[in-house]
Amino acid sequence: MKRNILLIALGVLGVITIVLAVLLVREYQALNRAGLTNPGRYRMHLSHVHAPLTVNDIGVIQSWMTFDYVNRIFALPADQLKTALKITDARYPHLRLGTYTSDVKDAVKSYLTTPK
């Protein structure tokens, strides 16, 4: 009886493994379609490691990020976004972007495209 239960359990695990293997292949295909399986893409990223992001990378900005992080990755002056968006919160720059996200994207784009 116990042996049969174990055999059934092993069979169920086998089915789950097949499902997971199919999922793995599908995930890989999705990455392939997005061109993310090409090592050349990452070689370019690695050659720019620690370099500031450019105006082409604005899409990276997300609401959970902090002003401090955005300032750092786009190499913005510390008070650039504070001034541009008239932020009065004393916690700046250690503050989540939250509702400011789209305004931050515009402000970063504007700063990066303005000739210095």
């Binding site: 997971l20 990455l31 993310l36 620690h50």
Partner: protein, 199 residues
């Protein structure tokens, strides 16, 4: 990306190494935080120069190992009392304990790569009264270090595309979990077969 991962990453950006320590420690104890996905994200932060690789790796490895040790020692001290209090069938635990004890080192090592199965193994190892040093501690440190370094390096390598890989990473973890469970069931099946053959 799940809301929980983004919330954890926001805390990591706000409180930096303290947040990394608290989150990874909690995940090591038993809290089901998606620490692996979070570590890939931190790898991407490192590639932007926002964190130091060595400081993150040291903090995360120390937090994970300390979390595992805390769970293991707490269960070893109080686990049997709780099992008796909950009137859990001791026969089932005796069988599991036997297998955990016989393959403790490899089990502890491999389950460091198996997400939520890691904390469960810490509890089982505590209940089975596995020797702390070297049987539990050495594979725990080696497994945690390997897992965390792989995730950080991978996040660093793929940079801002790390989110696209979180699905494939969790599927691989799922396959490892199934593999570990299947291994134990197979061993159990083998011992039952031997018992029936002897009878």
């Amino acid at each position: 990306m799940s809301a929980l991962v983004t919330t954890l990453l926001a805390y990591v950006l706000l409180y930096r190494y303290i947040a990394i320590f608290v989150i990874v420690f909690s995940a090591g104890v038993i809290v089901p935080f998606p620490a692996s996905a979070m570590l890939m994200g931190i790898g991407a932060f490192i590639s932007h120069g926002y964190f130091s690789f060595s400081a993150v790796a040291t903090t995360a490895i120390a937090a994970n190992v300390l979390g595992d040790i805390a769970a293991f020692l707490a269960v070893r001290r109080y686990g049997n009392r709780v099992v008796r209090l909950l009137h859990v069938q001791t026969g089932m635990f005796a069988t599991l304990e036997k297998y955990i004890r016989s393959d403790a080192g490899p089990t502890v090592f491999i389950t460091r790569f198996a997400g939520s199965l890691g904390p469960v193994t810490n509890i089982m190892a505590g209940l089975a009264d596995v020797r702390f040093v070297p049987t539990f501690l050495i594979p725990d440190i080696a497994g945690n270090a390997a897992e965390i370094l792989i995730l950080l390096v991978f996040g660093y390598f793929v940079g801002d595309y790390w989110e696209n890989f979180s699905g494939i990473q969790s599927t691989i973890v799922g396959i490892i979990i199934i593999g570990v469970i299947a291994f134990f069931l197979y061993k159990l099946y083998g011992s039952l077969r031997r018992r029936y053959t002897n009878h």
